[in-house]
Amino acid sequence: MPRLEEHCWSCSCPTRMKAEELSSASWVASKAEEMMSIVTSVAGHACGSLHRIQTANLIRRGLVLFTIGVFLALVLNLLQIQRNVTLFPEEVMATLFSSAWWIPPCCGTAAAVIGLLYPCLDSHLGEPHKFKREWASVMRCIAVFVGINHASAKLDFANNVQLSLTLAALSLGLWWTFDRSRSGFGLGLTTALLATLITQLLVYNGVYQYTSPDFLYVRSWLPCIFFSGGVTVGNIGRQLAMGCAEKPHND
């Protein structure tokens, strides 16, 4: 049964992930989080067999989130480079894989960390998230997230300010529609700030480059994407956590 469910998830979730930039941005943070989660898991081991199940759960959730992250990074990356698409498929594929190889894994890791952090934060704050807790809503959230990315990549705006404002409004709308929790907002904001900062640093050091930066060294809509990505992944993570917790009851 767990196998089946996992399979189901990885099938149904492949559509959403964070933008490629997110991954690079939160790479450092994700490393730290990874360490933390390892520590946590080790501690859990020590606690005994009861916790072993939870650890397995945690690892499974992390894996699912990681997969989702990698997939969304690839897809959204494709969306971003689509504008310069030529008529030669081999060119496209070359472009896709010529970008830094470490971006998708970083995105995946970041997704795993954020996705695990959200339910963790919920339980620590003592206010479990009850709003629209169902897979259909999660799917909707992912679709909106991809739509935001789509808009950022494809729409022609008069200027960058307008684009950024629109995307900011959309991100807020996403949070309001699917999350509506203070912790979610806070975490999303933190993610956005942190990720943008890291991206700035990376670009500053020449690891990465934007074709037409308009906000210091990056694009001004980047924080919005990060924010909505954080909310989305958090949504998935919560749903996963709930599913795991509920499953024994169902059975």
């Binding site: 099938c11 689509q82 008529l87 060119e91 496209v92 070359a94 897979w135 679709a143 729409l155 008069a158």
Partner: protein
């Protein structure tokens, strides 16, 4: 507070409005669904104008003379112009079409000469074109200033770098192979190799470099060693960024002057604009596919939440349909009001769905489902709607608000999206309110019935708390509620899942629906594509029309929307208006046709200009221009180019020139050894393609064949094949729920009775039969061994001759006494009368005239019975009527399939009971008086080990089936028992006088301690208690309904805690078995009831003398459907879970769909057959015929097999047929019983 009150009031109003709306929807489901569908279709109608996906580039033609660059903004007179024809094109394409030939041809020339010098001339032409200058008052213009300047090849095209121009004018010609340098060309020893080395390997469908440079199809270039025509064709293609008619005109004039094409009639007054669709690359495809996967996941997770309804799939489908059609409606409405979608529909579609969402639908469903179940459907819908009204309205308002905000971002794309979304939301709301709510109400109604059905039988065993006062006669429900909203199937009793799915498969397989739909769809699609294709039928037709019209040649309007197209090389096209191509240089040589003969007679090539040259670009690959431009990173997607009329150039080269330009190595090429090799190379590709295509086709056919064999392994036979044995190969396999008999079925004949068998009863393990002689035999239903013989008490003589006497003794007696007949027509059948009227039904009547012996004995008895009839029963007015009644009654009763309930026809009237005849009856609790033995058995039932026998004297006897001892008897009634029902420990007896008696079998033990025997297998046979011989059994009359019917009771059935009686007075009554309470009187027949079917699932069907069949809802007493199917009486009725099978006096077997009441098909049988029916499994029907039984496949109405019961089968019909639990069939066959096993069915049941 004021605000609050306003809000509250608003809320109340909304909720009240929703309540009323819910009532409306639930009350008139069908009209509302129809109305909604109509409005959906209406709103989608404008969508027809939108282009189909999958068509190629779009073409628009304008005149050259008055050409101006179209404006960006649409002008007033858009009418003729397509949407995309705005602004300047990406480029103007000017092609110079060169046809060159060496003439006269002589034998000294080698094949290479065909193309070497003609291609060589391209360099001078290029020189000419490049250097052409046009000077007028405004200045000097050259090609350099007008042409499309390209900067850089794509980095991926290194290998083309040397060939395609890297900067400067985009001007391509075959000269590009040699970097446009004459000396390189002259040094090239093998031109063909140079040309071929850039060709892609293997098969390709896209444009190759050769096509680009030559500008004509490969086949038309003539650059080949084996060219027949020896004419080389190529183009010089120039891409211009701006249009200067004067420069182009002078260029054209110059070239024409230099190289005149005398016979060229190409039109040069049309400019063709080609618009290209958006390219979809793999990079765009992946995100698109991703969004669609998300969308489907969303829909899946949403619809998964639909629960507690009858058909999850149906509702999920309805939800999806709601959303999709609201989207279509929104696009349609927007198109209607002039807003054309500019966004890529496929891209924004998933987002639109997500924005509109399925949430409201789910909320509605949940709310309705959670209303109390016992409410009426209407009220449930209304309540559910009004409960959620406030939140639904709030949601809709919020979404509208958000979208309106989005509208004010003033980004055109977002604005358009928002517009669509707003209209979509509104139409979605409309559809939810009307379409989905109605569908939901239909579903809920279906579930109600199924639910109740499921619950009730569980209560059937215990006394019901409901007092059950006689419900007043139910009026038939209004017609709108009928067939398609109600189904009588109760899934609780049978595992319906598999059959349901299988039924869909069967349906698909039977009608080959999928194949047909796909075929029709493909044909339509291809047709539309062919019609709308720019090079397709429509333009061809238009050209034809314009050709044939008198104005066709000269007065072709310059704004003609389509280019005149003539399929290249089509000999049938009407080209008469164009002058036939004339040979120019060598007019004396007309013998083209002899070319192919080889080099025997040198033939000079001739250059001809045909209409196919005019639109040469049409014969290029669709991707020609996009790929040329894409090399320079210019996309043509959603843009257009303008193709100017070609400039024809004719070159004639002298053989001298050809020889001069020869490369030294050219002469080494020998002419092909075999003259037939021309075109071999071209053909080779063709052969390869053909071979591959053929192989793929064969593979496909094999695959489809396998699929077909897997899915539809059956022969589509006709219905009602005449009787005949089938060979094994003809039999379908067990895809259909059973395996047909694969071996010959040999019936097992049970002999022992001396006379015709009248009563037959079985409980699955045992089989009891009673013959005319009154002898009861008990058989083992598995082996056919005779276990017990209970001789007739009153009949000492067991010889067969005595039996005959008794039997025939009826005839004379009945004739003179019509009163007797009236009593007998309930169930007792009169042999003589019936035989006269229906010779086909005749049974053995060999010695009729001999016997009148018993007459005096019988008369007083019958008289007594008749006199005891209740006064309400109207005595018949005259004897003639009775004759008819009796005949009918006999016909109706006799052949009915489940014989356990049929009133036994007449039995011989025993004359002299002899007590000494019953040594086995010592424990008989009631010592029967001598008169009791004068009666015969009219009805018999077998349950457990008890045989209940109803006698003509009104006595009910209980016999032990194994020991053959009389366990008890009851003599409370005096009127003859015509029908019996034995259910658990209750016995219901219908008497001749129309009264109904309920008996209880009691033992000294509580019922719970009784051993039960037999598995509760087939629904009609509940486990029967097994009474041990030492138990004292008491049979007590619990209730007697004196006047159950106004007229004699003809049928009695019991199942599922109900007793159903049908009578001559046109009514059916339903009683509860526990308390003998009459629940319903069902009216609807216009004739006497002749057959009734009821089973554990509470399905009640009745057939009458009027040929009508009614299906009733036993729970409410309402009539579900009412169909007329037979001319004459319905003689027998059986139901399966999906259909109702009826047979009538017209020898027709009709199969009806149970839920809709639609006749599926009918089987015409031989005359005199088919009165008895039985259903073995869901799909196997048995009918009795003349000396045989036939097996039918219910799904298709095919005859599977006919089993002949004996050698002398003629004349003896099978009148009674009983299906046992082990899928054996018992039928009477004169004085024998026939036990027929259906082996494969046995396997299946195991």
């Amino acid at each position: 507070p004021a605000l609050m009150t306003v809000r509250e009031r608003l809320r109340q109003n909304i909720s009240a409005a929703f309540y009323r709306h819910g009532l409306l929807c639930a009350s008139y489901p069908v009209p509302i669904v129809l109305f909604t569908s109509a409005s959906i279709l209406t709103c989608c109608y404008p969508l027809l104008k939108l282009p189909l996906p999958g068509t190629g580039p779009v073409v628009f033609t304008t005149g050259v003379r008055d050409y101006t660059i179209p404006y960006h903004e649409p002008q007033g007179e858009i009418g003729e112009r397509p949407e995309w024809y705005r602004g300047p094109p990406v480029a103007y394409i000017q092609q110079v079409l060169v046809k060159a030939a060496v003439s006269p041809w002589d034998n000294t020339l080698v094949p290479v000469d065909v193309f070497r010098s003609p291609i060589g001339r391209v360099f001078s032409l290029l020189e000419e074109i490049r250097n052409h200058v046009y000077t007028d008052s405004s200045g000097v213009r050259s090609l350099e200033s007008l042409c499309l300047q390209v900067t850089d090849l794509l980095p991926g095209l290194r290998r083309m770098q040397t060939i395609l121009p890297e900067h400067g004018c985009l001007l391509v010609s075959p000269g590009n192979y040699w970097q446009n340098q004459r000396d390189l060309f002259d040094l090239d020893s093998d031109l063909l190799k140079t040309i071929h080395q850039h060709e892609p390997k293997g098969f390709h469908i896209s444009t190759s470099l050769r096509d680009l440079l030559f500008g004509v199809m490969k086949e038309h270039t003539g650059v080949s060693l084996y060219s027949k025509k020896r004419v080389v064709t190529y183009t010089i293609t120039i891409a211009l960024s701006s249009y200067d008619p004067r420069f182009l005109g002078s260029l054209r004039a110059r070239l024409k002057q230099l190289h005149p094409s005398l016979n060229c009639t190409l039109r040069d007054d049309h400019m063709v604009h080609v618009h290209f669709k958006e390219e979809i690359g793999i990079a765009e495809l992946i995100p698109l596919v991703t969004t669609y996967i998300i969308l489907f996941a969303y829909i899946y997770f949403s619809t998964r939440k639909i629960d507690m309804v009858k058909s999850k799939w149906g509702l999920a489908l309805a939800a999806v349909v709601t959303v999709l059609s609201s989207l279509l409606m929104s696009v349609g409405l927007c198109t209607l009001f002039g807003l054309t979608p500019t966004l890529n529909g496929g891209e924004i579609f998933p987002y639109l769905v997500v924005v509109i969402g399925l949430e409201n639908v789910l909320v509605l469903t949940k709310s309705v489902v959670s209303t109390p179940v016992d409410l009426e459907v209407k009220l449930r819908i209304a309540q559910g709607l009004s409960n959620e009204s406030w939140s639904i309205m709030k949601n809709v308002a919020t979404e509208l608000g958000i979208i309106l905000i989005g509208y004010f971002t003033l980004v055109p794309a977002i604005q358009e999206f928002c517009l669509f979304a707003v209209v979509g939301l509104v139409s979605d709301f409309f559809l939810q309110m009307f379409f989905f709510t109605t569908v939901l109400s239909i579903d809920i109604r279906r579930m109600e019935l199924a639910d109740l059905n499921r619950r009730l039988p569980a209560e059937a065993g215990m006394p019901q708390p409901k007092p059950g006062p006689l419900r007043p006669r139910e009026t038939p429900p209004p017609p709108r509620q009928s067939p398609h909203t109600i189904t009588l199937q109760a899934p609780a009793f049978r595992n319906l899942r598999l059959p349901k799915r299988l039924r869909v498969v069967y349906f698909l397989a039977r009608t080959r629906l999928a194949q047909r739909i796909i075929m029709v769809g493909t044909v339509i699609w291809i047709g539309i594509l062919v019609y709308t294709d720019p090079a397709g039928l429509r333009t061809y037709l238009a050209a034809q029309v314009s050709e044939q019209s008198p104005l066709g040649e000269s007065g072709l309007p310059p704004h003609l929307g389509v280019a005149p197209v003539f399929p290249g090389g089509d000999p049938t096209s009407t080209l008469s208006v164009l002058p036939a191509p004339e040979p120019t240089i060598i007019p004396e040589n007309h013998s083209n046709g002899h070319d192919s003969l080889g080099h025997i007679t040198p033939v000079s090539p001739q250059i001809s200009w045909g209409p196919e040259d005019e639109d040469g670009w049409k014969h290029l690959y669709l991707r020609q221009w996009p790929s040329l431009f894409s090399y320079y990173n210019i996309t043509l997607a959603k843009r257009y180019i303008s193709i100017l009329p070609v400039i024809p150039v004719t070159l004639h080269l002298s053989p001298q020139e050809a020889i001069e330009t020869r490369h030294p190595q050219d002469t080494r090429h020998q002419p092909p050894p075999i003259p037939r090799t021309p075109d071999q190379q071209n053909d080779l590709t063709l052969y390869k393609v053909a071979a591959l295509g053929l192989a793929a086709g064969v593979l496909l056919v094999l695959l489809l064949f396998c699929l077909y064999r897997v899915l539809c392994p059956r022969n589509y036979g006709q219905n009602g094949v005449p009787h005949g044995r089938r060979r094994r190969g003809d039999l379908p396999c067990d895809e259909y729920g059973y395996s047909p008999p694969v071996s010959e079925i040999s019936p097992l004949l049970l002999r022992g009775h001396s006379m015709d068998i009248e009563c037959l009863a079985s409980d699955g393990m045992l089989l009891a039969s009673c013959c005319l002689a009154g002898q009861i035999r008990v058989w083992d239903a598995q082996t056919g061994d005779c276990l017990t013989i209970i001789p007739n008490n009153g009949l000492r003589r067991s010889s067969s001759s005595g039996g005959w006497e008794h039997r025939d003794g009826w005839d004379p007696m009945t004739m003179p006494e019509p009163d007797t007949l009236s009593g007998a027509d309930t169930g007792a059948c009169l042999e003589g009368a019936e035989c006269d009227g229906y010779p086909l039904r005749r049974r053995l009547t060999p010695s009729r005239p001999a016997l009148f012996v018993d007459q005096p004995d019988l008369t007083p008895l019958i008289d007594t019975n008749f006199s005891e009839l209740p006064p309400s029963q109207k005595p018949p007015k005259n004897g003639f009527d009775f004759g008819e009644l009796v005949d009918r009654a006999y016909q109706e009763h006799e052949p009915s399939p489940s014989l356990a309930f049929t009133p036994s026809p007449t039995a011989p009237q025993p004359r002299r009971p002899s007590v000494g005849d019953q040594p086995v009856m010592s424990p008989d609790p009631c010592s029967p008086g001598p008169t009791d033995w004068d009666s015969s058995v009219w009805a018999m039932e077998l349950r457990g080990n008890l045989i209940a026998a109803g006698r003509s004297s009104g006595k009910l006897e209980l016999w032990d089936a194994v020991e053959g001892s009389l366990r008890c008897c009851n003599e409370d009634g005096v009127s003859g028992i015509t029908a019996l029902a034995f259910h658990n420990n209750r016995i219901v007896a219908a008497r001749l006088n129309g009264s109904l008696d309920f008996f209880t079998v009691e033992t000294n033990k509580p019922l719970g301690l009784l051993q039960y025997r037999g598995a509760p297998g087939r629904g009609s046979m509940p486990p029967s208690p097994c009474y041990r011989s030492e138990d004292v059994i008491n049979c007590q009359l619990t209730r007697s309904v004196q006047c159950a019917h106004q007229k004699p009771i003809t049928v009695l059935r019991a199942a599922a805690g109900r007793v159903v009686t049908g009578s001559q007075d046109h009514t059916v009554r339903v009683y509860r078995l526990e308390d003998s309470c009459c629940l319903f009187t069902l009216q609807g027949h216009s004739g006497g009831i002749t057959s009734i079917y009821i089973d554990q699932t509470m399905v009640l069907a009745s057939g009458g003398q009027d040929g009508a069949i009614c299906l009733w809802d036993v729970l409410t007493g309402s009539r579900v459907s009412h169909v007329y199917g037979h001319r004459g009486d319905v003689t027998s009725l059986v139901c399966t879970t999906s259909c109702v099978i009826s047979s009538g006096l017209d020898d027709l077997i009709c199969i009806w769909d149970r839920s809709t009441g639609i006749k599926l098909y009918s089987i015409q049988q031989e005359v005199g057959c088919g009165a008895s029916l039985g259903v073995i499994s869901e799909s196997l029907l048995v009918t009795g015929g003349q000396g045989c039984v036939s097996f039918w496949d219910l799904n298709f109405g095919d005859l599977l097999q006919t089993v002949y019961l004996g050698q002398n089968s003629e004349g003896q019909g099978v009148r009674q047929l009983l299906v046992l639990e082990n899928a054996a069939i018992v039928c009477d066959f004169g004085s024998e019983l026939s036990l027929v096993y259906v082996p494969s069915v046995l396997e299946k049941l195991d």
